[in-house]
Subunit: 324 residues, 6 copies
């Protein structure tokens, strides 16, 4: 492909070692104009929807820092994302730590602009509520979306503290209500943890969401879970949302609502690699909370999941653009 030469590339480790220089996602160039890229990596430094332990607002920076550990080519699939698509860091969405409503508006607006530029977004949260305004922003022309949702929690509660409708426990209920998600094309993987009420997950099930609890996950095994996820979302436009608390907290201690007993990063990698060829329109990794893991280990896990999703997105674009 003649245009590949001009694709943005990560800073060369020959000039500055990987731990050096300004930290951008994957050491890619920073663009303020989304039209320069096809895949835009975006931070959403906001945790105003967090009802328990805060800190995910600091996630994008730490994930950018640790993304330096990523190299250029996927060691299993051989996908070379920077040869298949124009990728770049688009900086952070504008947010307002003093207002949930204002932040929801700012984030939606940022993503609407990105979407209008034809960019596929790959985001780093932020708490899980950020997925809602992201979906609002990219809905045009493709909603309702399917969703592959890795998480310990269903995040389909209705309200909190009475009638507060916007927290990191409610985004997918809102998204269904708003027509952003097609509940029948939603699969949730890893759900667990004690319940507030017997019917915590009832609404999700009633809408037709496919909830794979961690117990079912272990009983089925990775391959069957992949097959089930593919079956659920089918060939329609699909979004991947990866909450790091789906993993066991030993692998991702830096998160706000840890639930013991999750899957391993290797298993998560296998699941993500099993999603090749789907019709993917974006993805995010959320709930990395640096104050609860200053070592950066959680961010490393999180950003490696971003790398896996990036390869999926780039392969899709490469195919569509005839670069493969």
């Amino acid at each position: 492909m003649t245009d590949k030469a001009a694709f943005p590339q990560p800073v060369s480790g020959i000039v500055t070692p990987r731990f050096g220089d300004v930290a951008t996602f994957m050491r890619l160039p920073l663009f303020r104009d989304p039209s320069q890229v096809e895949i835009g990596m975006i931070g959403v430094p906001w945790d105003g929807g967090t009802t328990n332990r805060p800190g995910a607002r600091h996630g994008p920076r730490q994930m950018r820092d640790l993304s330096t550990m990523m190299r250029r080519i996927h060691h299993v699939t051989g996908i070379a994302p920077y040869e298949l698509a124009k990728c770049g860091d688009l900086g952070d969405a504008s947010v307002n730590p003093a207002s949930i409503d204002d932040s929801l508006g700012r984030i939606e607006k940022f993503y609407a602009k990105v979407h209008a530029a034809g960019v596929t977004p790959l985001s780093a949260g932020g708490d899980h509520l950020v997925t809602l305004p992201i979906m609002r922003g990219i809905a045009k022309g493709q909603a309702p979306l399917g969703l592959i949702h890795f998480d310990a929690h269903s995040d389909t509660w209705d309200t909190y503290f009475g009638d507060y409708k916007y927290t990191h426990g409610t985004p997918f209920r809102r998204a269904v209500e708003e027509g952003l998600l097609d509940p029948k094309r939603v699969v949730q993987i890893g759900i667990r943890g004690s319940l507030y009420n017997r019917d915590d997950n009832a609404w999700a099930l009633a809408q037709g969401m496919r909830v794979i609890t961690i117990e079912e996950y272990f009983d089925l095994g990775v391959e069957k879970v992949i097959a089930e996820a593919r079956r659920v979302v089918g060939s329609g436009p699909t979004y991947i949302s990866f909450d790091v608390d789906g993993l066991d907290p030993a692998y991702a201690p830096g998160t706000g609502t840890p639930e013991i007993g999750g899957y391993t990063p290797h298993e998560a990698q296998r699941m993500l690699r099993g999603l090749r060829g789907l019709n993917l329109v974006g993805g995010d990794v959320v709930e990395v909370s640096p104050p609860f893991d200053m070592s950066g280990n959680t961010a490393l896990v999180g950003v490696t999941m971003m790398w896996e999703i990036l390869c999926l997105l780039a392969e899709g674009i490469g195919k569509r653009k005839g670069r493969l």
Copy 2:
């Protein structure tokens, strides 16, 4: 059941968020009079039996803090402990950091009072020696007990440093000698680690204890280990003692004598869930040592195991009281 309305309930998250207010076990009310409850959650803030790294004396407070993450209903079994039994926090047993003997006496006395009030105790250690005075305190009318013992170590050494008989390496030998435990109804799961002497576990085996090393554990798999544990303890009164060092230290680094290569929390949860229907008279989670894990991650694992045991105990009481 008409009496359920008056059962103690955790503080509502609608009034104060889960991270708020005074930290009690499971956010339950604190009772100084044991006769108010059927299941009493008790701390034993003592590590005077520790021969290596100390700190488990700080375990109960950190476990109370992290117990805030627990909700009300078990997500797999559906058990709702606070509907099935009167549960409460009974505070900490009295202990004396300057004397092993005095502490053993104080702890036994505390539990004898609890036992006399008809309460089933669920305790948070403290080092593993605390299980001995607990057993002494609850022996009346039900000893010798059976024991399901999760641990990396057999804790059946004889003496230490010559003729010192009371350390966290000796409680179960003492318990057998004192007639508190029926060694033929003891099963130990996860035993491993290099040995001082070739016959470190010989005494336990000679008494008829069933020692499942971690190697045998992995070879058998969780289901067969559950079956074996149920076979060993049978229908007699049985106690569960969960030392967090039975888990791999990646999941529970905050402990005094870590041994690499243990089971995962999910596996431990599965094993505990496999113990439904046994004749359980109490349980404990021990050896959480906060100074070696200030993040609270180990305490979270520990207190989730308390939650699993709580559900088992509550179901048993609920059945006996005809509330199910």
Copy 3:
């Protein structure tokens, strides 16, 4: 005094060592009915006004835990607060992590009830915005108050992110606007740090607040600063608000907006001890953020400042009640 015998006392260390049992402020009993006490220690587990690093919502619990280090009698002044006043832990004010407005209302209501019961409140934040609803709650019959304000920041900004008026950078501007504070009876000690705008502190100065920057503080010395503070607040009703970021961050790293170059804890203790005999109506210690100092060292500093303020408040009550 005949009534002293019935004053609430901390749990005896002879029964349970200081690190044991449920953690309440100063190991005092927990009362849900404020009318039982004269000085009520209260947590406000909320950081919704934080524009930078969050986590102060976890402050009250960690401060309760570390308050266990406090004993009964002040080693310099000889004040024995539990002999001079009925003191107790009143638990945490109700808050809502998902709404600033709702939280402001809940907190105000909680304190109004405490105030109506004739209780002098001593609070543990939470971020500095919590001082605003506290002042609203206790305003009746005594506002406008004087204020002795220890802090690196003036916290008199107007708005944030456009027109957002309620953040931890604005409480004292709002309090003056609402008539809760008399700006001419406000003294701020330790102000420093680079500025957004040249006139960041202009509003405060224009209102007549006395701003002692850290540079002036070091030039004057502790004794003259005490004299100046006493002069400013005079004999009217006065509140003490201690933001731990007034201290150098080496002493209080667990805070959201550290500014290097502050005073030492010993100096702060001297300043607080210099406030004996003022007409004090309450106090707080805010901005302890446990996720940024899991060791508890910051909380220990914070709670020792609470102890110093407690002794001041108790002496005042003791005098008024004729117990001295």
Copy 4:
């Protein structure tokens, strides 16, 4: 001044909160072409000269991250650096972790280019050896320089491990030997710590360097130390090198060779502020080692010292350019 409107400015906190977006020094724009700025902030992510605890190679990134805490105007001097000079982040100098010699060459070359563009460099190390190639790079037309050197160590050893001449203990000896420094215009402040040999500092003294030990520092007091430093360097071109281990390790634990008993950050700030009006040609802050302080507290101290030096440099440029 008409040209000020076009000066680079930090990202506005109204668009993205200070903890958000890609971390550059002081949130300034990143320039790859040095001719765009007058003051260039540069990282040197290299610790190949470290003979004890490594990690300073990670310093620039963590200092960029914490520089987010800096605002726009100096709260004591009123200096507004971004109005007085064109400031920007120039990224990191190229280095080679596998070769001291190659790194010395790469760094010198980078700075020579910066110097040729007329830029005043303000750098973040890296270990203290990086100051040598920086000085080589900026020598042209202005060497030998004067030096104000804050440090616990004289860094004028000769060789290490036999005949190895390039370590973080030797840069200023080499610089004198090479004619980069005028030893009679060098002042070192805070020197302390046990000695290898009785004459460890003899060479420095013999060259005419002014060595102010920490003991003399405390005896003289800040004002006299400032006067002495100004006297020593006079009106000639002068460089400021600030090793964070000159501070007491309580304030800067994240460093490779801590020596207890140093000055405080406030004292260091006062000393730096005392250097206004000197003929300053550059500065650096070195030996921040993130692996030894993942909290970022040391980096915050370090980057605040960069802010102080930045204000000095900008004022000088502002004066020379007639912008004041």
Copy 5:
């Protein structure tokens, strides 16, 4: 065996508890004369070959400290190494943090002396480059060696930063080139992580090395991997090199180049135990980096792997010496 009585033994826990006294490997005596032992445990405190996060130079001390957790007899195989071979701590090899070349020479010389004394070395790194001079030192009379290599990385890159041939990414390429290793008798287990270039592992494969990626590892299972490793190395002299980053970083976070998704310590133990009876001539555990895990948990994992290898080596010597 009559000579066993005089074998060096670990300090008795009856005299000083295991956490006490000077920390040597396994609490064995320290010998400066290698001729006193048959198995010499050696530290190589050097990380000059590290291209990313440094700190492995501090590995040997922390591993000695944690080795205190090891006891005397293997709990699965029953091997009692101190009865089968004369074991001791030989201190650290001489190194030079200021020179790669000098260090390579010093290390080789140290090991050549050890080898000449007939000692089997078991080493604690240091970064992985140290394996190269170790192999040079022990080559005489037995090279080319076979290698069982546990690692996330192949460490067979050619050069770095142009033409720098000696980094922790290149030792095994150099070793093959120098005839120290027989590539056809090399097996690598656990290789993974994104690639710089599509052919990163091509050279290794072209030489005939057997590369078992982590994906193949999980597909084969532990038993088949053991069989394959045994097949590859056959009966010739073989070295074991265990890089802790082969493990999942949850188990070994204290390392320089973590790659998520590795094996567990239990699996590694099983693999090592599967190597009994091979013709083993030495081993090492490398890349433990204490600054990235001050808790010592990574060092505990590392030193337990040393214990496993020690038992293998001692059994081999015991057999050859007719002590079994």
Copy 6:
């Protein structure tokens, strides 16, 4: 002096860098026979007297590790201890974590042997109770001793938990009762913290001890405190006991009973340097608790205080032996 050539010397940094090799105190040789040295550095890894936060049992190892930062010659006094006296590491005293009484006996016996060999001991605790058996061990021929005692606490309580006489709060009361200390020759520096009872320090004062509270300390200043300490102990045999909690916890967070508001390390160094020429018979540094400061910063402070005391002791021996 002709015998100096044979004095034990620290391991040369030319052979192995300071962070390398087995960690002994000050990198000195380890001797099991005390008669080889004149000054013996000894660890007492025991915290059985700790009534609050444990962990000081791990102090000696961490202090040995950090002692590597010490060099050979005092930078202020010029004292070269290894030229003035035969110094060595004597390992750790035998202790028993399972028994206070047995440990007191073991420690006394160890020191009696050291004392009988004519050795001046310099010890690293352990908790403060260890000073009691040390004093018992060295009493022969020189008791009652004078004492210069740096601490936040008087450590002269009578009993704990009823009638328990041996805790880290009681050693100096016991020592006076046993005739080991002459209370009129005891000075305590830095006493502070809230009190259990109004007369907590009454006993000490009644015996004639000179108690310098931290408030008096700051009022007097270092020079007058030195003069007062010298006046109190006079020319009789005197022991120095340095509890790191006398320092402000910002400098020594790794300790069991922190009290905010202490002196700085520089001030402590000045005080110790002010004790030259006294008749010193030994010293200790106690209460370094590594689990509460894994960074080693507290141990570095502690071991630097050991270095200061070592220089005092060596100078005294040098004078007596005519080596000066």
